[in-house]
Amino acid sequence: MSIDMSQFHQVFFEECFEGLEAMESGLLTLDVGDVDAEVINTIFRAAHSIKGGSGTFGFTIVAEYTHIMETLLDEMRDGRRQVTQPAVNVLLGSVDCLREMLTSIQNETDVNESIVAQHKSALEAVLNGHAIPDAAPAVHAPQPVASAPTAKSDVEELADDAEAGWKISFCPYLDLLKTGNDPVRLFRELNELGELTANVNIQDVPKFYELDPEECNLSWDLKLLGSVSSNEIKEIFSWVEGDCELEVQALTKPKIVNPIPVVEAPKPVVALEADPVSIETPELHQKPAAEAKKDPEADATKTVAKASSSIRVDTEKIDALINMVGEVVITQSMLGLVGENFTMDKVALLKRGLAQLERHTRDLQQSVMNIRMMPISFVFSRFPRLVHDISSKLNKKINLKLVGENTEVDKAVVELINDPLVHLIRNSLDHGIEMPDERVAAGKPETGTIELKAYHRGGHIVIEIIDDGRGLNKDKLLAKALEKGLIEENLQLSDKQIYELIFMPGFSTAEQLTDISGRGVGMDVVRRNIQSLGGNIEIISELGKGTTIAIHLPLTLAILDGQSVAVGEEIYIVPLVSIVESINITEKMLNKVAGKGETFRLRGEYLPIIRMREIFNVRSTNKPKSTEGVIVVVEGQGALCGFLVDELLGQQQVVIKSLEANYRRVEGVSGATILGDGSVALILDVPGLVRLSVR
């Protein structure tokens, strides 16, 4: 019977966190004045499945806690309790608390019980404080009550249900045990429903030498306290129907049941059941808890290691993939046929087959890529809460609009974009949107709007954060930059360059530091993170009207559009995103600077030039074409720069392979790819190369 439950833990936690997110978004959309029953139902269902799951896995602390939430939600659902803002806030707090509990259980660390107790008492206070008097007293009791989804229907349908409890006389036939039923298991299930007291009758037990251990000579009188429906009891006993005599009576009108008298035999049989045993609730609860505690410890490392590596995929996507694989197999067998006894007249057929194979391969590639794609809502869904919390802390009125949540992005992008986005949204909340009275004075609606928008554009995903706040003040930015010595005086900067200033390390214009933003670390980190994802970030702002921050990201981190360039006999890939333009030049067009660096004059601006042959020490047998070459103008670290290469070869999509997996990081190189002929080409890391050249 010892199934290793820990193998399901990961799935359980994933489901729990999904459930918590559903609860959170439900709670946030809950309109206190006009309650949508469906929303409460959604929240309730999420809470209920977390309770059920954690009970199954023996995370009693979670189950008990969720139970209180569930009780509260149940009352709200039935209209027995009004939905008030304080109650919603307490529920939101308890979602956080649950998340913390689950995270610590997942990470095998101790649950912070004092915090849990604190939340628990807050919940109980709400539960007891404002309850409408009619609420059944049983609901307040700390023990598990009727499983929730059925509760509502039961209330109407089972008018004869006893509130107080049930008296059950359970008298199994002799061969109950032979059918594989275990009374103890039944009692355990009963105990889940309410407080169970069991008394065993041993007068039927034969003398020791006459005893057949496979026969069940015991019968029980059970007392179950709590508001339980008779259906639930019957359900539990449905397994032993026909193998026993069963009488279930409501405790309110007690009736004495006489078990069939058999031969008197007072000898104790099994040690455990020697005396009338009263099974007590806590004992049964503690056992699974203790087991559960042991399990995770043993599997600690396994679980942690597995934590981040799973992905949920739509079956639709998998079906599409299987379809494609089928097509490829068909094409392959067709080509196989052509290959057998090949004659020249089959060339046309061969070509057709190859064309088909090419198409299928491309489709297959796309479907596989699709599996890694997930909707950006995984990130976006966290923000309503963030905005709700921070805006109430700042006393601002802010409405968050999410657009394009179903835009799909690579899983890796989803994981890495979260922190930068949180930072940007906090900035918008704190610095962007003004206080309500300020807004009214400026002739804007009192409630500010932040729009979070995602859409696809040309092989990229664009995420925009648009606020209608005060906008960036160019003069203030310039003054601040001067004060901090980040720029020199009398420098003429374009609007774009001024906005770029906020990405400089140590730059903050906030008059006062808050715990939300303003410390001046951040925007440079945001930009670095986004660049490391192969994307870029830009700002458009209008004073008094608002700011738009646009992040452009590649759809996937696995494939990149690249320009292959030749340096000597070697081939390198330059990411297309960073290329501004390419120019054919001759040696004479380069200017030496102080005998060391070189520059190229491009439309009146001097570009620093990096000679790829020199920076990569390319030894080439064929003479460098000293007289001409190609300058690939790239943008790295916010500045333009030119790479001098021998030749441009072609643009292609390349599959990014890690160099670090078997080797190590190489400066100036972000990864490698495999070219059509099977050889390896390195992908250039443009900002890294610029840094390398400075040294």
């Binding site: 290691a305 020490n617 160099l659 997996a661 080797y663 190189v669 390896v680």
Partner: protein
């Protein structure tokens, strides 16, 4: 394979063969031996993934010259190290007979694979663990730290290399940069 052949030659009867085999497993380790110049080296055969012939590599810029570059090994990017250069032997021209031994190094729960260029692969040798001697500080070109021990096979001395240490060199290399 070689061990099975030797075992069946040395014993008669299936049962005893089996038990002998098991017994020998307790102390025996198999090594793949290969030649570098006049010296013979061995690596734990369980670390050997495959043996390939030399093929042109893609050079990696700005790394020590013994790191020849990377190749595409069925979709994985695998670095190739020249052991001759690594151990300061004189360089030789690569021929189609030059051999690349692809080794696995365990690094925690992560394994890495890496190819090493050697002159030729000689044999699979059975070594009794008890026969492995510690390497004295002697005048080979290989620094002592990569050598696990010495063993003599048919009057020849074979230096047993520690694959993990050998492949960990890479990390040190990157620190120096």
């Amino acid at each position: 394979m070689a061990e099975e052949v030797e075992n069946s030659a040395a014993t008669s009867g299936r049962d005893s063969e089996q038990s002998n085999y098991n017994k020998s497993l307790g102390n025996a380790v198999q090594y793949l031996s290969f030649a570098l110049g006049n010296e013979e080296y061995g690596v734990d055969i369980l670390r050997v993934q495959e043996i390939r012939s030399w093929e042109p590599v893609s050079r990696i810029p700005n790394v020590p010259s013994y790191e020849k570059g990377v190749v595409n090994l069925r979709g994985a990017i695998v670095p190739i190290i020249d052991l001759r250069e690594r151990f300061n032997f004189s360089r030789v021209e690569y021929t189609p007979l030059t051999v690349v031994v692809v080794l696995q190094a365990g690094n925690g729960n992560k394994t890495r694979i890496m190819g090493v260029v050697v002159d030729s692969v000689s044999d699979v040798i059975n070594v009794d663990k008890t026969e492995i001697q510690n390497a004295p500080d002697f005048g080979t070109k290989v620094s002592n730290e990569f050598i696990n021990g010495l063993v003599s096979v048919n009057e020849r001395m074979v230096m047993l290399l520690d694959v993990d240490k050998l492949l960990k060199l890479e990390e040190l290399g990157s620190d120096e940069n």
